[in-house]
């Protein structure tokens, strides 16, 4: 098989992994070595699905012993299989890196022969790149569930970030869809990585293991788990295992099976989960506040707005003297604007035009704040506000809509409204 074909197969096998960020690690360059890591991460390109290309995302092999129902690389799928050698991976990475195509390498693999064998192969590839090719760019390495802890521990000293995919949000779903994986096989190495990360963060040894921490990913909509369960799991992962990121990936149907939904979940669900995730990480929300455990997030309204309307007794707040924490809870005001308002108001009272100048978007915020004592929303009834924000109220209030008494003969009009002939 030609080299290009192998790269093609192994790229397509890796593309459903969401993680693409190259941020969080800061490695300075050393004379005579190649590369460094920018703390902010750098996106090098964007594909037509809107995702960024930051790392060379590739599998070492897609020969797999496992038979996970949702996975394109599962053993029982009849697809082309390929394997790359450590040297091939290293050469490709270096060639791309020197041309400024990529920020580093994201290396994953299917479970070939055994978890330990695969983990060893991954380690060999990474060590070759670091030692022989003196590569100091970013490396994100997948750990293989079921591999010996010593191997995973050893791997962690060579890479910037490691991750194990939780895959599915509950043990039951895992049993149903990924029978060879178990909760324990995934969580216990994650615990170890978390200890390594925290230990090195505090003790700051000369060579830090996984300076960019660990991440994980789960598939949304392939099982029956609710959003309430999912974000509680994420919250626990952030709090107890010090994860940097939890990625959510709306299930893309690649296989047919009666245990899998035939239609993919609404893409907005993934989006809402990310919003909830951001609320927990940057806005100080608890999972409990966002949604009860057995419910799914509202697809029409973002979780922050939803919370504010549900707790409308706390609003409107005066932006000139409310706390920073409360500013963050105003729909339409993000972390950056909350910070700016918090500092700018020390120089004097802010009025409507100061906020306009600061480009605070008041379209939503106006229902939840007073500016220098004045309320700028048209309405302060939470139910009406909900309707206005979700666009349901517009239909009734908009001056463009000329309501005409319907007649039985006026078929055209009634079609539009009732949807039937």
């Amino acid at each position: 098989m030609e080299f290009e074909d192998k790269v093609k197969i192994l790229t397509e096998g890796a593309k459903y992994d969401v993680s693409c960020s190259s941020s969080g690690g800061q490695t300075n360059s050393v004379k005579g070595s190649l590369g460094n890591c920018a703390f902010s991460g750098i996106c090098h390109s964007f594909t037509s699905d809107g995702r960024c290309v930051s790392l060379l995302k590739i599998l070492l092999t897609n020969y797999c012993e496992y038979d996970c129902l949702y996975c394109i690389n599962r053993r029982s799928n009849d697809i082309e299989r390929a394997r790359l050698s450590a040297k091939e991976i290293a050469e490709l990475t270096i060639n791309f890196y020197r041309r400024n195509y990529i920020e580093g390498l994201f290396l994953s693999s299917a479970v070939d022969i055994s978890p330990n064998h695969t983990m060893q192969q991954l380690i060999d590839a990474v060590v070759l790149l670091r030692k022989e090719y003196k590569f100091r760019g970013y490396i994100h390495l997948k750990a293989i569930p079921g591999a010996d802890q010593e191997l995973i521990n050893y791997a962690s000293q060579w890479v910037d970030r490691m991750s194990l995919n939780i895959e599915l949000p509950s043990e039951n779903s895992l049993k149903l869809l990924a029978p060879q994986k178990s909760k324990d096989l995934i969580i216990s190495p994650m615990k170890m990585l978390s200890e390594i990360y925290i230990n090195d963060k505090i003790n700051k040894p000369k060579i830090r293991k996984i300076p960019a921490g660990q991440t994980t990913q789960m598939i949304i909509g392939a099982s029956l788990d609710t959003d309430g369960q999912i974000i509680r799991l994420s919250e626990a992962l952030y709090n107890n295992l010090s994860l940097k990121r939890v990625y959510y990936s709306a299930y893309v149907p690649v296989n047919n099976n009666s245990n899998l939904p035939a239609i993919p979940p609404d893409i907005r669900r993934e989006h809402r989960l990310y919003e909830a995730d951001w609320l927990m990480r940057f806005y100080g929300y608890k999972a409990n506040e966002i949604i009860p455990i057995n419910y799914n997030l509202d697809l029409d309204l973002d979780p922050k707005c939803e919370w504010a309307i549900r707790n409308y007794d706390k609003f409107p707040i005066e932006i000139n003297n409310t706390s920073y924490e409360m500013l963050l809870r105003v729909p339409g005001i993000g972390v950056r604007n909350a910070y700016r308002i918090f500092h700018a108001r020390k120089h004097g009272k802010l009025d409507y035009y100061s906020l306009k100048k600061m480009r605070v978007i008041l379209k939503r915020a106006k229902y939840f704040i007073t500016i220098d004592g004045k309320y700028y929303g048209e309405n302060d009834n939470p139910d009406t506000i909900r309707n206005i924000i979700t666009g349901k109220e517009m239909l009734l209030n908009s001056p463009d809509n000329n309501y005409v008494q319907m007649s039985f003969f006026d078929n055209n009009k009634s079609n539009i409204i009732t949807g039937e002939f």
């Binding site: 300075n28 360059s29 120089h347």
Partner: protein, 243 residues
């Protein structure tokens, strides 16, 4: 209106600031272009003076620190037609209020300055990702690009630290500027009119692998070209070889 004409460089800009505080208190406008103003305007031409500029620089550093001065020199790289005026207005505030200007997010002059600075820094950050090198047969990696703002000098340190064992050329085609790093030192120069590029043997192979990689990593069920256009604007794509 009293208009101050300066040479188009940072030294000229800082010299004008000196004169504003010590010679002509009534300057309304600073610009490097003389044309397109009203007949009744009064012009003062100010010569660049390194000594005076140095004095103003030290004054700025005393007020808002090295980081603050760096922001001003970076903002000067902007392509904004009124950059001199915007920096002038900002500096007036700096000398009046000192460090506290950095949190006056509601002041028009400061917003205008920050916007300009942000555009320069954003473009710099983008270019650290979007610039593409090609390997020539003499082992030098050559890149060409064109940006809205004059950010080449902000890019040089990034690429030197990243590719310190590699000889490379950054070529800003729009401004005819070039930077060459020979593995030890970096030289900036005006670009020659024509450049001969003979690529190495493997260059086409790697380039094709990269193009193919970009196609393969796309999830075609999730097409979202609007988002792609937003993140990778079309104005940069002529030098990005995957497009």
């Amino acid at each position: 209106m009293k208009i101050c004409i300066i040479e188009d460089n940072l030294v000229g800009m800082l010299s004008a600031i000196y004169h504003f505080y010590y010679t002509y208190r009534d300057i309304d406008l600073i610009t490097s272009e003389k044309n397109a103003y009203n007949l009744t305007d009064e012009f003062i031409e100010i010569e660049s003076d390194v000594y005076l500029a140095q004095k103003v620089r030290n004054g700025i550093i005393k007020k808002i620190g090295h980081k603050g001065y760096k922001q001003i020199s970076n903002a000067y790289l902007s392509s904004d037609k009124n950059k001199e005026q915007k920096i002038f207005n900002y500096l007036k505030k700096v000398f009046e209020y000192g460090c506290t200007v950095c949190t006056m997010y509601h002041e028009s002059d400061i917003i205008a300055f920050n916007d300009m600075l942000r555009k320069v820094m954003n473009e710099t950050h983008r270019m650290t990702g979007f610039i593409r090198f090609q390997e020539m047969d003499n082992g030098i990696y050559y890149s060409y690009f064109g940006t809205d703002n004059d950010v080449i000098e902000l890019l040089i340190p990034h690429f030197i630290s990243r590719f310190n064992d590699q000889q490379f050329v950054l070529h800003d085609i729009k401004r005819h500027k070039m930077a060459y790093y020979n593995g030890k030192r970096c030289f900036t120069m005006l670009a020659p009119k024509s450049i001969n590029i003979s690529l190495s043997e493997r260059e086409m192979i790697v380039k094709n692998l990269w193009r193919q990689y970009n196609c393969n990593v796309t999830i075609s069920d999730r097409k979202n070209e609007k988002l792609q256009n937003h993140y990778a604007p079309k104005k940069y794509r002529w030098f990005m070889n995957e497009f």
